[in-house]
C-alpha cells in the first residue's frame, strides 16, 4: 500500500515537480507513416520506436475485423435490428490500439462509440451489442471482462477509471485503466476532475481522447481554444501526447508507451488522437447539415487500414494470402453476427425489478407482482 505522502510525490521526475515542458505534447502529432503508408518525413515519430511486426500484424487483423463488424452493425441498424449505432469507422487505429496496448488484467472504459474496441477485447458481439440493440443496458460482465459498461453520459466514466486504477494500485497490483473519450467529452467537468484526481493521487490511468473532429455537429473549435486537447494535461500535471490517430504504428507506439509508463509508476498520461468520424454521428444523424463531403473524402484517403497495409506490404510483412485470410475471418465474423442478430431480442419484464438492488425492496416486489398480474390477464 502506498501512503498519502507518496501520493504527494512529483508526478514524473525524481526530485521535484516536473517542468511544464516535460508535460507538453509534441508540436506536431506523432506519426510514423505519411498519408499513403510510406515513411513520414523527418523524425515525426520522436522518441517512439516502431511497434513489433507481431503487434502490427495482430493490429491489422483486428482492424480489418473491426471495420467489417462496424459495417455489419451499421447494416443491421438500417434493417431495424439495432436501435441505434454510432460507428467508429475510420477510428480503427484508436479502437484497436487502445485494446492492444492493454493487458487482460487492465481495465478499459469505453463509450457508446467504442463497440469495436469491445469486439477487439474479445467480448461476444451479441453481448457487446446489447445496449445498442436495446435488449438491456450493458450485456457483458464488466468484472469478468475488465471492461466497464459503455458510457453514454459524456466523460462521467473518467473518474471511475481513476477509482478502479487507484483501488488496484493501493492493493499493490500493477493494473492500468484506459479511458476512451471524445473531443466533445473533454469539455465536460468530469474530464477535468478525473485528470486532476488522477494527477493528485498519481494514478495509473491513460486518457485517450479520440478527437474525431465533431461532437455530433459541433466542431472541435467550439469545444476549446487550447493549442490542442493534449495541452490540457499540463494544467493538471499530466503528461500530454498528440498522435496521428489514423497512423496505427504511431497509435500503438504511443499508447503502449503511455500504458507502460503509467504501469511503471509514471502517473497518468493524456493522449490525443487526431482522427476523423467518417460516418455520421449515428444512423439518425444528417451530417450534410454541418460538413462538406470533400472533407470526409479527404480523410477517407488517410485510411488507417490502407496505411498499415501499405506499410506492412512494403516491409514484406504482409502477403496477399494474409490479406485474404484477414478478410475471410472478418467475413465469417460478420456472418455470425448477422445470423445471431436476426432473431428478435426478447426481454423478460420480471428482470426490470431484479437488479435494482441486491435484494428487491418490498415496494419492488409488490410492483413486480402487479406487472405479472397485468401480463397474466
Amino acid at each position: 500500500m502506498t501512503t498519502q505522502a507518496e501520493h504527494r510525490m512529483p508526478a514524473v521526475l525524481p526530485g521535484g515537480v516536473p517542468p511544464a515542458d516535460a508535460l507538453l505534447p509534441s508540436a506536431e502529432p506523432v506519426r510514423f507513416l505519411d498519408d499513403d503508408g510510406g515513411p513520414a518525413p523527418g523524425d515525426a515519430h520522436g522518441r517512439y520506436e516502431r511497434p513489433s511486426t507481431e503487434l502490427l500484424r495482430r493490429a491489422y487483423d483486428a482492424m480489418v475485423l473491426g471495420r467489417r463488424f462496424d459495417a455489419q452493425a451499421t447494416a443491421l441498424t438500417k434493417q431495424g435490428r439495432l436501435a441505434v449505432y454510432p460507428s467508429s469507422r475510420g477510428q480503427e487505429a484508436g479502437e484497436i490500439g487502445a485494446v492492444l496496448a492493454l493487458r487482460e488484467t487492465d481495465w478499459l472504459f469505453p463509450t457508446y462509440r467504442d463497440t469495436m474496441a469491445l469486439i477487439a477485447r474479445g467480448i461476444d458481439p451479441v453481448e457487446a451489442l446489447t445496449l445498442l440493440r436495446g435488449s438491456w443496458h450493458c450485456g457483458y460482465d464488466p468484472m469478468a471482462t475488465r471492461t466497464a459498461p459503455q458510457c453514454t453520459p459524456l466523460a462521467t466514466h473518467a473518474p471511475h477509471a481513476v477509482g478502479v486504477a487507484y483501488a488496484a494500485r493501493r492493493r499493490g497490483e500493477d493494473t492500468v485503466a484506459l479511458v476512451l473519450i471524445g473531443d466533445g467529452g473533454t469539455s465536460e467537468g468530469d474530464f477535468h476532475e478525473a485528470l486532476n484526481f488522477a494527477a493528485v493521487f498519481h494514478v495509473p490511468v491513460v486518457f485517450l481522447v479520440q478527437n474525431n473532429g465533431f461532437a455530433i455537429s459541433v466542431p472541435v473549435s467550439r469545444q476549446t481554444a487550447a493549442p490542442s486537447l493534449a495541452h490540457k494535461g499540463v494544467g493538471y500535471g499530466v503528461r500530454g501526447e498528440r498522435v496521428d490517430g489514423n497512423d496505427p504504428l504511431a497509435m500503438l507506439a504511443v499508447l503502449t508507451d503511455a500504458v507502460e509508463s503509467a504501469r511503471a509508476g509514471g502517473g497518468p498520461v493524456l493522449v490525443e488522437a487526431h482522427t476523423y468520424r467518417v460516418e455520421p454521428h449515428t444512423n439518425a444523424d444528417d451530417d450534410g447539415r454541418y460538413r462538406d463531403h470533400d472533407e470526409v473524402a479527404a480523410w477517407k484517403r488517410r485510411d488507417p487500414i490502407a496505411r498499415l497495409e501499405a506499410h506492412l506490404r512494403s516491409a514484406g510483412e504482409l502477403t496477399d494470402d494474409d490479406v485474404a485470410a484477414a478478410g475471410a475471418a472478418a467475413e465469417a465474423f460478420a456472418a455470425d453476427v448477422r445470423k445471431r442478430l436476426s432473431e428478435e431480442p426478447v426481454g423478460d419484464p420480471a428482470e426490470l425489478f431484479a437488479h435494482v438492488f441486491a435484494t428487491p425492496t418490498p415496494q419492488l416486489r409488490e410492483q413486480a407482482a402487479w406487472l405479472a398480474e397485468e401480463l397474466a390477464r
Partner: protein
C-alpha cells in the same frame, strides 16, 4: 454514556473501519481537520491518511472516484460538505451510482455511502440548509436513510456501510449536537423499518430526520391537552416501511406528515399518496402535511418561518376534522 449524534456517527465510521480495512473515508476537509462538522474527527490519526483522506475539491470527482473504488474491492464512504454542495455530484449519483447494478444485470454492485449533512435549523447562510432527500429518494437504485436519534445514527450508518448497495445517508445538521444516553456499539431496527416512537390513538404523526423531534414535542404538548398522538419515525425513506405506517394510520384514522423539506413533489407528498392508497377506508380526515413552504430556503433571520414547529403541527392536527367540519384551508379548489 451521553453521546451526541455527531460522535455516534464518528464511532460508527471508526468501528466500521476497524472491522474492515476496505472501508475508506474521503471528501473535503475530512482528513486532519475531521470534517467541518467533525464527524471524521480522529479517523485520519487512527487509520492514517491512507484510509481517511482529503481529495481535490470536486464533488463529482469524489463520487466518481468512489464508484471506481467500489467497483474494485473497496467500500468508500464519502462526505459531501453540505446538502447543496452535493449537487455537482448529482449526475454521478443519478446516472451511475443508482444504476450500476441494474445496468450490469447485477454484475457490478456499488457498496458505497454518500454522507450528506442536510436541512436547516443551524442558521446557515444560503446553500447550507437544503433538504435534498427527495432528489435521491426519487432516483431508483438508491437507498436513502436519515436518523433522528443518536442510536439510529450509529446503527443505520453501520448498516449503510455494510450494505451491498449505495446508500445516501442524510444527516440532519441541527441534530449533530443532540445528546442521548447510549452505549455504543448499538444496533437498532434494520433498513426498511419505521419505528413508533410514541404510541397514540387519536392521530398519527409521520416524520423523519429533523422533523422527528418536532413531532415528538407536538405529541407531548397534545398529550397535555388530552390528545393522544402516535409518532412514527420513518428512519429509512428507501426502502419505505409501508406496513408500520399503514398499521398506525389504520389504527388512528388520522394522519399528519411532518417534514422540513418543501412540500411540493416532496417525500411528504409521496407519503401522503401511499397512506391514502393503503388507508383510505380507515381515514376519518384527509391526510395533511406540515412541510416547508415552496420557497428557496430562507436566510437565517427568516428560517423560523420555514421550519415546521410544534404550533404548526398542532394546528394541522386540529384540522383533522375531529368536529366533522371540512378543513377551511381547502374549501376552494384553487388558491
Amino acid at each position: 454514556m451521553t453521546v451526541t449524534m455527531g460522535k455516534a456517527l464518528t464511532a460508527a465510521l471508526r468501528d466500521a473501519m476497524r472491522e474492515d480495512d476496505t472501508v475508506l473515508m474521503f471528501g473535503e476537509d475530512v482528513g486532519p481537520l475531521g470534517g467541518v462538522f467533525r464527524v471524521t474527527d480522529g479517523l485520519a490519526a487512527e487509520f492514517g491518511e491512507d484510509r481517511c483522506f482529503d481529495t481535490p475539491l470536486a464533488e463529482s470527482g469524489i463520487v466518481g472516484l468512489a464508484v471506481g473504488m467500489a467497483m474494485n474491492g473497496f467500500r468508500p464512504v464519502v462526505e459531501m460538505q453540505f446538502d447543496a454542495f452535493a449537487y455537482p455530484a448529482f449526475e454521478q449519483i443519478a446516472s451511475h451510482v443508482a444504476k450500476m447494478r441494474n445496468r450490469t444485470r447485477g454484475a457490478v454492485g456499488l457498496p458505497m455511502v454518500i454522507r450528506v449533512p442536510y436541512a436547516g435549523g443551524i442558521g446557515g447562510v444560503e446553500h447550507h440548509s437544503d433538504s435534498s432527500e427527495a432528489y435521491y429518494a426519487h432516483t431508483p437504485g438508491l437507498k436513502v436513510v436519515t436518523p433522528s436519534t443518536v442510536a439510529d445514527a450509529y446503527s443505520l450508518l453501520r448498516e449503510a456501510i455494510a450494505d451491498p448497495d449505495p446508500v445516501v445517508f442524510m444527516e440532519p445538521k441541527k441534530l449533530y449536537w443532540a445528546k442521548d444516553e447510549v452505549s455504543l456499539p448499538v444496533r437498532t431496527e434494520p433498513f426498511g423499518r419505521a419505528v413508533v416512537r410514541v404510541p397514540g390513538s387519536d392521530a398519527t404523526l409521520l416524520a423523519y430526520g429533523p422533523a422527528v423531534p418536532v413531532a415528538l414535542e407536538a405529541a407531548s404538548a397534545a398529550a397535555a391537552e388530552g390528545l393522544s398522538l402516535e409518532v412514527v419515525d420513518l428512519r429509512t425513506l428507501v426502502p419505505f416501511d409501508d406496513a408500520t405506517v399503514a398499521a398506525s394510520v389504520r389504527k388512528t384514522g388520522r394522519c399528519v406528515v411532518v417534514a422540513e423539506a418543501s412540500g411540493f413533489a416532496g417525500v411528504s407528498a409521496e407519503i401522503v399518496a401511499r397512506v391514502q392508497e393503503r388507508c383510505f377506508h380507515s381515514l376519518a380526515a384527509p391526510v395533511l402535511r406540515v412541510a416547508g413552504w415552496d420557497v428557496p430556503f430562507p436566510p437565517p433571520v427568516l428560517e423560523k418561518y420555514q421550519l415546521p414547529g410544534v404550533d404548526r403541527v398542532l394546528d394541522a392536527v386540529d384540522r383533522l376534522q375531529f368536529d366533522d367540519a371540512p378543513d377551511p384551508r381547502f374549501l376552494a379548489v384553487s388558491p
